[in-house]
Structures are given as structure tokens and as C-alpha cells.
Symmetry: C2
Subunit: 115 residues, 2 copies
């Protein structure tokens, strides 16, 4: 039998699921590739799905995450807005602290010394 | 627009979803009502679904949660085993600490003073 472990999903909620690991990963890839098309492709997601996801997140958060440039390869590039970058910075730190805290709490109550 | 908040699901994983808020709530109601039938009914769950849930959890955790008594009203009563009670005690504390820690981490990165 495999050892027991903690599993979790954590997200920001605002009039629905507003932001979480998926959109964060997508934005990180947009930052690297400068393209929502390439970012979506790397995640095995269609461009239209990625575009709808970003739109939904923008509507729920109330600010724009991506500046879109028309034309060029792949229908132009995309860049993360300053507000998007600020969100990513905070979310990255939040995500890291969530992970370490949940692991610590799990060990406290279900670690091997308690078995 | 409603204020943003944190949302989450946390569970114990062992060869699949092993234990979480649903089974914990079900066991709490069995403790109170002494009956899996009544506990399931209170949660709007069929008896057969509750029974399968408990069986799955028992198999994944590797120990028995409920002692079943045959006969009587509602096919006899159910009682939580000592191992089940120990799990409930730990899970209750775990659940409480998870909640307070996640709220604290959320406020650190997304609290109103940061907006």
C-alpha cells in the first residue's frame, strides 16, 4: 500500500472560480513565450479555451491580465499587464506558502510518528 | 462585486481519495445517531451510497471505521470503532488548523490592505 499523503485544491473565488494554479501556469508560460497561443499549446489546451479562460478570469478579478497585439505570427503576441504581473507575484508566494503549511499540518496530525 | 475569498478542498489520499470532509461529517452523524441509515439520511445520501463510501474509505485506510449491528430498526445500528474515533479526533483538529492557516495565508497576500 502506498503511504498516505495530503491532497488539495486551493483557488481564489470571486463570483465563481476566479484564479488558481491553472491560470497561473498559463500566465507564466505567456510571460516566457510572449504568446497565449504558444502558452496554451504547451499546456495541451486549445487557443480558444485559453482565451475564454483568461477572459473569465479578467471579468471575475475586475482587471486586464493580458495585452494583446494584433497581427504577426500566431495572430500577434500577448504580454502580461503590470497588474497581471503583480497578481502572479503574490499568487506564486501564496501557492508556495499554502503547500508548505499544508504539508506541515498534515505531518502534525498524520505523520509517521503518529501511526 | 462580491469580495474575493479563498476556496479550497483538502483530503487524505491513499490509493485514491481516502478521507475528507464528507466521510468525516458522515462519521460524526453516525456517532450522534448510532445509525448509518440516519446519518446518511441527514446528509441527503442514500444508505447504499453511504455504505459504499464507508467501505471504500475502510479499504483505502486499511482499518474498520464502523461496527455494524444486524437486526432492529433500520437494519440495526452502527458504531464508530476506536480506530475510527481516533481518526475523527485527528481529522477534526487537522481540518480546523487547515482552515485557520489558509485564511491567514490568504490575508497575507490578498487581504484588503494589499488591494
Amino acid at each position: 500500500m502506498n503511504p498516505m499523503k495530503i491532497a488539495y485544491k486551493v483557488w481564489l473565488h470571486q463570483d465563481g472560480k476566479a484564479f488558481g494554479d491553472g491560470p497561473y501556469e498559463l500566465l507564466r508560460r505567456v510571460e516566457k513565450t510572449k504568446s497565449l497561443h504558444r502558452a496554451a499549446s504547451q499546456m495541451g489546451m486549445s487557443y480558444s479555451k485559453a482565451w475564454r479562460l483568461i477572459r473569465t478570469v479578467e471579468q471575475r478579478l475586475g482587471f486586464v491580465l493580458l495585452e494583446r497585439k494584433v497581427g504577426g505570427h500566431f495572430g500577434g503576441g500577448s504580454r502580461v499587464t503590470p497588474e497581471g504581473k503583480e497578481l502572479m507575484k503574490r499568487y506564486g508566494l501564496f501557492q508556495k506558502e499554502v503547500k508548505s503549511s499544508l504539508q506541515r499540518i498534515y505531518r502534525t496530525y498524520f505523520g509517521s510518528k503518529n501511526k
